[in-house]
Amino acid sequence: MLAAMLVPCARAADLRATVHDAQGRPLGDAVVIVVPQGAAPPSPRARARLEQVEQIDLEFVPHVKAIQAGTAVSFPNRDGVRHHVYSFSPAKRFELPLYVGTPAQPVVFDQPGVVTIGCNIHDWMVGYIYVSPSPHFATTGAEGTALIAGLPAGRYTVRVWHPRLTSDEHATERRVELGAAALAELGWVFVLKPEARVRRAPAPGRAGRY
């Protein structure tokens, strides 16, 4: 869950983010992005990594995956059926035609933004890859918290993205100044829209998967 990818710093600070929905329930799968103010974004190629989004029991796992721009992602299929993974999102358009196992070539996500992924065989399968311009980010767990550790002291803009946000992620922005060896805590409460997802349960007259 933690995704702070920092060079160890003797005077680092930590940021704990807490996210709830309007009913007060902890909100998982929220991506918290910490962007240094006034700093140029790091080169996407400087931090080439290999991450993965699996397909398990006909679902994308994890449902939301946060990565830094420039990261390569593989899409291993752990199911006994073929999947056909695709995305039409402007941040990354790609297609992995019907396959089992792990495709030979991972997909490189070099443009920041939200990439919605789907399976052309199983319409209910939907997942999200958040491509962060900043190396400082984390995704909340089921308890609704995320810890971004090892931040250098300084001024930051912090924002949150979630697939069910009703507004643009930039509307969630907060500015924070972190001192050395400090622990800052920020909290958000969001009114969520219903998830736009195809019902998975059997539908009458539909023996197949579409």
Partner: protein
Amino acid sequence: MRTAAAVLIALLPSAAAAQWTIDAQGAWTYDDNLSRAQRESDITRDHALELRGALGRAFVVADGDMVLRGEARAGRYDTYTGLEHFALGIGAGWRRKLGIGLTAPWLAADASFFEEDYAEQVRDGRSAALSLELGKRFGPRFDAALGAAYDWREQHDDLATVPGFSGRPFSLQGRSLFLRGNLAFGESWLVFAAAAARDGDVVSSTRRNPAIFRESAAIANDPAFGPDFIAYKLTGARTNSYTIGLSWALRAKASLDAAVTNERTSARGGLDYDGNVYSVSLVYRD
């Protein structure tokens, strides 16, 4: 029955290491015109428990999903026990998306063959069905499909009781056009509707009356409804049916459905009838 069983047995061992599909359904139904009769005095009504199970093997053919399946069906009635039946069959279904993405249209074809064994001999027979369907999802909540189907049934034994008439009223065939749609409300609830028009043969059961002898193509005794009932076949009939229902997702692979279907049949000689079938079904699909 033996033919279907033999094909099914031949299919299953070859799929031992393959991907399996399971489709199971249990339904309670109430039919308010089980005999498909015109006159109130001939109309019969009954509850039934119907079970269906299919085990299939899926693989890719022509960039589409192909499933070969073995299937069993059974029905048990409260009152008219002569209608109780067991059927064993095989089927093949194929689906392919005609493009990439949630809203890409899809094409599907299906074929099935069944051997059917009823408590009353007159209904024993074999049946086959073919269908071709073109569908499209218009977003996460709504999808619709248009299709055509052909159905065929042959009664095993010629049980002629009236000179000059075939004794196979349960040998039938017909062609249908259908339209169906599903509208989801979140991930749990879904309203579904369907309409179909079928042209072809129909069979009704009634007590003897002169009209059926003028218009029917085949007649046989139908003891399932009583000793004085006969089944008669009408050709060239039009049946319009309309279904509406509600589906509740119990889990990712199971749903509980409730539906009502209204059927109206128009046949030569004014031998028209209509009826409703109410059902509550538990469906599991994997």
